[in-house]
């Protein structure tokens, strides 16, 4: 395959970026998208140019490190991670525009790599169950209905890649936050901190500068793990309940 790539190049956050066009030949349809970028980069390195910086690690769709906007869609045309997207999803002669996730809470580091630590800080605000090592009771002391455990698992499969934020017209991180609130809120172990968790995580996501959710659904449709909009409904339900109960965010 021969492709025209239009890639966002930006040396660092302090300078303005722009689209640079590259021509790439001899791409196999069995290559993954990132392997195609590897080919581009090898050519750039040998030509003495700066290769395109992009984040990636496991390349099997589970670590959540990779993720770019491909022709205006988070992770590209298939509902999967960028590393699991293969070139057979494109046609010979295609032009592909590649951009980083864009959100003020995800500042660009370089080219296509962005800083997603805002997500970690949302988790720090309450995305956990306080169970210090050694304090745990016997695992079977609390049964969990299979239905709840399965639903919690579905929400817990979120890989924190940021596609939801990237795809959302409001750049909202609601699906990410909601996935964690749902996962922990469905487990009996997560009940004691349930109200504080949701209030503080939502406060933190606002503080990080993410947009608000307006229930558009781009996030869920772009999520490589298919996290459902139901999680957002659950978060809203929990949050309004917590606010009614008088819970307020920690400053």
């Amino acid at each position: 395959m021969t492709l025209t790539l239009r890639v966002w190049r930006q040396k660092d956050p302090s300078v303005k970026g722009g689209i640079v066009t590259y021509e790439l030949a001899d791409i196999s349809p069995d290559m993954s998208f990132l392997e195609m970028l590897d080919v581009l980069n090898e050519q750039l390195i040998l030509g003495g140019d700066d290769p395109v910086a992009f984040d990636h690690d496991c390349r099997e769709g589970i670590c959540g490190m990779c993720g770019v906007m491909i022709n205006g869609q988070a992770h590209g045309p298939e509902q999967t991670t960028t590393c699991q997207l293969h070139m057979r999803s494109f046609k010979d002669g295609d032009t592909i525009t590649i951009e980083p996730w864009r959100a003020s809470a995800f500042p660009v580091i370089k080219d296509l790599a962005v800083d997603r630590r805002a997500f970690d800080r949302i988790i720090q605000a309450g995305g956990y169950i306080s169970a210090p090592t050694g304090t745990a009771p016997e695992a079977h002391s609390v049964p969990v209905p299979k239905k709840d455990a399965d639903a919690a698992f579905d929400a817990a499969t979120c890989i924190g890649c940021g596609a939801c934020v990237a795809a959302c017209p409001n750049a909202s991180s609601m699906l990410f936050t909601a996935a964690k609130v749902t996962h922990l809120g469905l487990m009996p172990q997560g009940q004691p901190e349930r109200d504080d968790r949701v209030v503080n995580m939502v406060a933190q996501q606002d503080r990080e500068g993410f947009g608000g959710c307006t229930n558009i659904g781009e996030c869920s449709a772009s999520c490589p793990k298919g996290i459902s909009m139901e999680t957002i409904s659950r978060l809203n339900h929990d949050l309004l309940g917590a606010l009614r109960a008088g819970v307020r965010p920690k400053s």
Binding site: L44, R59, Q84
Partner: protein, 648 residues
Amino acid sequence: MPLDLFNVGDPIADTKAPMDVPIAERWSSRRFRARLVNPANRRKMTVIVVGTGLAGGSAAATLGEAGYKVKSFWYQDSPRRAHSVAAQGGINAAKNYRNDGDSVHRLFYDTVKGGDFRSRENNVHRLAEVSTNIIDQCVAQGVPFAREYGGLLDNRSFGGAQVSRTFYARGQTGQQLLYGAYQALERQIAAGNVEQHARTEMLDLIVVDGRARGIVARDLVTGEISTHFADAVVLATGGYGNVFYLSTNAKGSNTTAIWRAHKRGAYFANPCYTQIHPTCIPVSGDYQSKLTLMSESLRNDGRVWVPKERGDTRDPREIPEDERDYYLERIYPSFGNLVPRDIASRQAKNVCDEGRGVGPNGLGVYLDFADAIQRLGLSAVEAKYGNLFDMYNRITGENAYETPMRIYPAVHYTMGGLWVDYDLQSTIPGMFVIGEANFSDHGANRLGASALMQGLADGYFVLPNTINDYLADGPFEKVDESHPAAAEALQGVQDQVQKLLSINGTRTPASFHRELGKLMWDLCGMERSEESLRKALDRIPEIRQEFWSNVKVSGDWSSFNPTLEHAGRVADFIELAELMCIDALHRAESCGGHFRAESQTPEGEALRDDENFAYVAAWEWTPESAPPVLHREALEYEYVHLAQRSYK
């Protein structure tokens, strides 16, 4: 064995396990005898933890909870990215919830036997003991394990075990366990007990007066190289499978942290023990950057076969039953498709070597679900393995519900690693090594669902108990970057970075990495021989030399430069590869993942030589010109009797 490649030094021994009590009491005895650090003093002490996988993440969180000041380092943007996240199958624990005869002793026995009698009994027994605590801990953190309709935890049998002791969360157990540890870690970061260093890579260890006191690290975003100090250093940086270039490891997984620590004096144990996982998606072309594992659980219902005739290129569905060779079921009637990984992998290689392999390049065997679909129904198979079938479809473009999957073995895990004693302390006092980075509890072969168990055992329960005994002597005298040892280490790292940038040759780091990987796979892979290893040992120094004179790294040091990071890692892989081949050559026996062509039974099974090789090979680094020094730690088996493994 010609000794031109290494020298033999003094034997080494673990002195920390209390041998005066029976094995079942040794861990509690050690915990009792280990000195404690009172809570007020813990606040005065700093521990560096490098890596945030199951071992590093759980250790950093637990040490933070205990009141130590922890500095945590990772090279990705978030601790949640660590490659433990990719473990699919499950985690073993001797809960005996199935009432099928499991016990701590049976898990201990299975693991020692599974490791082909090359692991330490004491460590393995401890692992089996704490396995039950791990499940309790993870459940309390909210890990959504699979459950039965009654609300209790589900178990499955996994990878060569005859009892159901594997706990799992669909095909994403590692992910869920890691998120549990990650969330505990983030909680400690929020509480101010753990200081985070994201996108920061350890590049050297600082040793002051014989004690590990800090690290040199590079901030991968700003390029800044700096020193960090502590009273103890914990390495939890994972395995080195990427020495083969193609492996199931993450692209960033590397040996740099443990290799540089090795060069500072930590012994490297059993580097040649590599595990080749039998069920991976075959290579499709030269551009391939990584291999993807398909959970071993697929072997519970899938049947492995190849055509009986060589070069049979018919569509697999058109090959009649009597022209198929279900070779695992044929050779191992009692274990069938569930034989341990090393055996399944080697048999796949054998049938492919015979020319009966399938797929475009003849490097693959079928894993067929037709029978399972007929027996259980399509929807049941979909419910059990749907995500794996989807993954297979995405990567290969084939539908495995209709045509058999093609699988081939791939490098997956490294049992070798830095040598540690029962306290998980390396030969450098104050440096502890946990998880896959140490030479661990798996001997020459790791059983399925044991890696997650070991990582969490080390991080949650073992290290936080044993490290106190060392820190009871602290806090140690303060050191900072002006100390000559720190300045020397910092300078060394800066020099290397400058060197890599200045060579300006004609080959990319990736091209060297690919060449090294192919060489290692061909000559030091699933089957090794004296001839192949000698060939590798001739070639590796040439690759090293060419690397240091012809590599091209573009960009500069003071910005985000993934090519520069990769170059440094490849340089270390090249050195490690040489030690792996020396280790593989010196161990003139077959055991577990180390299969020497010269040492096999008449049926082609691995043939151990217990008389000469029942030891851990701990290698000491010597400056470049001198060969490494071998220190042997004798392995004695009091409770599990040495026997030829048999899965027939």
